[in-house]
Symmetry: C2
Subunit: 205 residues, 2 copies
């Protein structure tokens, strides 16, 4: 969770170095408020109050709530998505889907949902979202497919294909569209009913 852009901006203004603990508290406050009241109703006052820090502390780093939210979204999951490497594609996919279940049901999942309607109207937010959490997850899935190809489990070149997009798509559909529960049992059902049959259907090299 380093924010290099903000760090250098801070250094160039000769301010104090960032306090990682306080950063974590502010980040948690923003995620909580996004989930609780949404982006439209989020205010810098509420972030300061929820984080238990002075407003000056927040304004010293971020001029607007847009700057603040964009920084936090861009950093979301960058450090936390560690691609699994269990030795089999089946258990790697299972681990990734369970990690996605945890994201969806946690504060980051609720915060992302609360921002989705704003993304089409806000190119900077859209860029932070695509370069941040979306990119992290895409790389994790690509890593898993590439390792499976190296082991000879699947042919090379599946990462990023339509077939590979299927892995997360059923969880995403319930999370964002239908609002039905997304839990580990559902992830396992997706693996059994969709992903394993698809893997079986791929001609081995």
């Amino acid at each position: 969770m380093s924010g290099s852009t903000t760090d250098s901006a801070q250094a160039s203004r000769g301010g104090r170095p960032r306090d990682p603990t306080r950063d974590g508290v502010i980040r948690a406050a923003v995620l909580h408020l996004l989930a609780a009241v949404g982006y439209g109703a989020l205010t810098m006052d509420a972030v300061a109050s929820q984080a238990g820090v002075g407003k000056a502390t927040i304004y010293r780093r971020w001029r607007t709530k847009q700057d603040l939210v964009i920084d936090i979204i861009a950093e979301l999951n960058q450090a936390e998505i560690i691609p699994p490497d269990t030795g089999s594609l089946r258990s790697d996919l299972r681990d990734l889907l369970h990690a996605l279940v945890a994201l969806i049901n946690g504060p980051a999942g609720a915060a992302i949902l609360s921002l989705l309607s704003t993304v089409p109207h806000d190119p900077t937010l859209a860029e932070a979202f695509r370069g941040g959490p979306l990119d992290g997850w895409q790389h994790a899935f690509e890593h898993v497919w590439a390792h499976a190809a190296q082991r000879g489990e699947v042919p090379p070149g599946l990462a990023g294909t339509v077939l590979a997009e299927a892995a997360s798509s059923l969880l995403v559909q319930r999370w964002l569209l239908t609002g039905q529960p997304v839990d580990d049992a559902y992830a396992d059902a997706v693996l059994a009913a969709v992903l394993l049959p698809l893997l079986t259907s791929i001609p081995s090299r």
Copy 2:
């Protein structure tokens, strides 16, 4: 596109009967504004101006913008989703996916995206959304799976299963999460790379 609740409320107040042409104009204005500015920034003034009708005309039917949007969302697609019946599951699914592509890229798709972040904070809107467009699409897919089972193409009981959820999920993921293009060519790629292999993997009865 009948709105029976509103009709009876109107009748009980002794008002004039609804004018379907004007309803269509107001509906188009709301969908346009949801896509252009989002739910938070939508105002009754803007709807009246966009639709070219007096504000009194709108307030006579809907007390608040929430009432107006809920009525329009609840009616969305109710009359337009006609389940295909081409005689084969493959072409029925293809037709449904192409209809979904049209929805996603049209005013209804943009309007739904603009409301998604509000849905978790607004139970009445959530109910209108689930009982309206979501329900209509779910019935269309169920119809297609049930007819395929009647023809003996697939075993009975697949409608509503995790496997059946896969059909729309890849389009939904691009539409709502990644923002990548969703067109007929993508729908055909999903059919070829995911749905047809899955259908082949189902043991026939």
